[in-house]
């Protein structure tokens, strides 16, 4: 009995070689046959995606000389670019201003046209099919690049999931891709969303307007802005100095700035929102009454048992947990007993937090299975 169970246990932990190989071959054959059947035998297929392609065209126009100021026609755009080029703008060829004669095409500039694509599922395409006129600017066509995307996403999902069996090269490849892509993604987003408009936009607004953000607002004090922007520019370079092998102290300046700023705002936030507001919230009447209606229809104040219990529990909880956190006094006698109650409160809090965490984690896995089943396998 005992020998047998040990063998079984070892088998579970490190299975013998032959059954394992057999298992893998069986799994692979089953998987390939299943996937092929799913992909080729069913009319809807797998990972099928279509795109809604819209052709967009823009022409460069300027205000016709005789025309009055186009009142309220495009106030947003007019205000958006109050520079010298404001008189010229790109509009749709069907723009009302062109038809009315308030705008005219700029000679010698070709129209620009391009296509926007939106990926949709075959089921969504059926809904849209009735709304699309043949020959119009919108059409629906198969989108192999998105179907490929679904395959890539599904394989990467499976690669990561394979880690639950054991660490393996597929998982490591997916992990390496994740690290590389996300670092670059964050950097790109930080660059285009913050560094370009806020830093470069202050240092060299004309250049940024000409090449990247034509609608960047014009500052009333460009000189001062540029001068002030030298501070974060310098601090930024000093921060990047951390990458250099020498002169580590240089990066301490920007770090000191970041710590100082954080300390300043956190001090205010912590005292205001966390300390004072939380103390106020904890100071509630211990005995709770609620307004009710008496036998003769008169208003009476009724004792609210559970409300009172809730209040008492709330106050006892805050005080006992704070006592537990108060390490300047030995946790002996009455203090020790109160601290013990505090621990119970904390344990209940953590138990509840665990329950909520479980729900969160399960949801994430659920969504990955949903993706595999619906988007990829199209079950």
């Amino acid at each position: 009995m005992s020998d047998g169970s040990q063998a079984a246990n070892q088998g579970g932990a490190r299975p013998a070689k032959r059954p394992n190989t057999f298992l893998w071959i069986a799994l692979a054959v089953f998987g390939i046959v299943g996937l092929s059947l799913n992909a080729f035998m069913r009319p809807e297929g797998m990972a099928k995606r279509l795109s809604v392609v819209t052709t967009v065209e823009r022409v460069l126009v300027e205000e016709a000389p005789a025309a009055l100021a186009p009142e309220g026609s495009q106030p947003a755009e007019a205000a958006a670019a109050p520079t010298a080029t404001a008189k010229r703008k790109w509009v749709d060829p069907d723009d009302a201003g062109l038809a009315a004669g308030t705008l005219r095409r700029v000679e010698g500039v070709d129209p620009i046209s391009w296509e926007t694509r939106e990926s949709i599922k075959p089921s969504e395409a059926e809904l849209l099919a009735g709304e699309i006129k043949p020959g119009g600017p919108v059409r629906i066509e198969p989108s192999p690049i998105d179907s490929l995307g679904i395959w890539v996403a599904a394989l990467l999902t499976l690669f990561i999931l394979s880690f639950v069996y054991r660490d393996n090269p597929f998982y490591k490849v997916a992990e390496s891709i994740l690290i590389g892509v996300s670092a670059a993604y964050w950097m790109v987003v930080g660059f285009w969303s913050t560094i370009v408009p806020q830093l470069l936009g202050s240092l060299a607004p004309e250049v940024v307007r000409a090449y990247a953000m034509p609608s960047l607002p014009v500052s009333s004090t460009p000189g001062l802005d540029a001068a002030l922007a030298f501070v974060p520019l310098l601090l930024g370079f000093m921060l990047l100095w951390r990458l250099a092998p020498k002169g580590g102290w240089i990066s301490v300046w920007p770090i000191a700035f970041v710590i100082g700023t954080t300390a300043g705002i956190r001090l205010v936030g912590a005292i205001e929102a966390d300390l004072m507001r939380q103390l106020v919230a904890a100071m509630k009447p211990l005995v709770v009454f609620e307004n009710g209606v008496g036998a003769a229809g008169e208003a009476v104040r009724m004792f609210d048992f559970w409300g009172t219990v809730g209040s008492v529990v709330g106050v006892v909880g805050v005080l006992s947990v704070l006592t537990y956190f108060f390490f300047s006094v030995d946790h002996k006698g009455a203090v020790g007993k109160t601290a013990r109650v505090g621990i119970w409160f904390l344990m209940i809090s953590f138990g509840s937090a665990f329950g909520l965490t479980v729900m969160g984690r399960i949801t994430l896995l659920l969504q990955r299975f949903e993706f595999l089943f619906t988007d990829w396998l199209n079950i």
Binding site: T116, F191, W253, A256
Partner: protein, 233 residues
């Protein structure tokens, strides 16, 4: 001087300015300027992170340490994403300024950068976090043992919350009328009692404790008592 005094002065003045700005409307525009710098530095930190990654992985490849092939994959993924993102390769032109390439949108799914987001970054990050569902299950089996009263409280609460969060709560105790004396036995009522009173009290005490800690740490930093950041070189 350069290594100690100036950083301490920078820290103190930035911190004090932001505290003073809370009480004085005259310094609000200074606060905006300083926070503007702070936000730019936060974006520079993304560049620093990318630079660090580059340095670590290049070092791993050049010294042919085990796993250097994975480092090469990381670098390749990094480089491709960076190039298509920074140069907005295949970006959809901006309707108001179609003549300026860099004004276009690069994070839409039809542009390569958006494609990488949709079909690589999203599945990878979300699956990575989804894996925790497996480990939380394993932890429940191995670590949640009723060894003493504290553990029983932890476990019992988790039990009630797990049951009451799903339809099981309603199946088991939904038949108890909500206005009866025994309504406290309903799992949804128990859950509310736990989260709104006991857990709120526990977390409130933690919040107050942390607030005191943050305030103390901030003051120690601003007044130069805590200088540990100076040795971070």
């Amino acid at each position: 001087m350069m290594r100690r005094t100036i950083p301490m002065l920078i820290l103190a003045s930035a911190g004090l300015l932001l505290i003073v700005a809370k009480f004085s409307p005259f310094t609000v525009s200074w606060q905006e300027t300083v926070l503007g710098w702070f936000n730019i530095l936060a974006a520079v930190a993304f560049v620093l992170g990318a630079g660090n990654l580059l340095a670590v992985n290049l070092e791993q490849i050049s010294s042919r340490r085990p796993g250097w092939a994975y480092a090469a994959i990381t670098l390749f993924a990094f480089a491709v994403t960076l190039v298509v993102g920074m140069f907005k390769v295949g970006a959809v032109p901006n309707g108001m300024h179609p003549d300026i390439h860099l004004a276009g949108a690069h994070d839409v799914p039809q542009a390569p950068f958006g494609w990488i987001y949709d079909y690589m970054l999203v599945p990878l990050t979300s699956t990575m976090f989804a894996m925790l569902a497996f480990y939380v299950a394993s932890a429940a089996f191995r670590a949640f043992r009723a060894k003493n009263i504290e553990a029983i409280l932890l476990l019992g609460t988790a039990f009630i919350i797990l049951l009451s969060q799903t339809a099981a709560g309603m199946f088991l105790t939904g038949w108890i009328p909500e206005d009866s004396v025994f309504s406290f036995l309903r799992l949804d009522v128990m859950k509310r009692g736990i989260t709104e009173h006991i857990q709120t009290a526990g977390m409130r005490a933690i919040t107050i404790g942390i607030a005191l800690g943050v305030a103390a740490t901030s003051l120690r930093l601003i007044f130069g008592i805590d200088k540990s950041y100076l040795s971070k070189t």
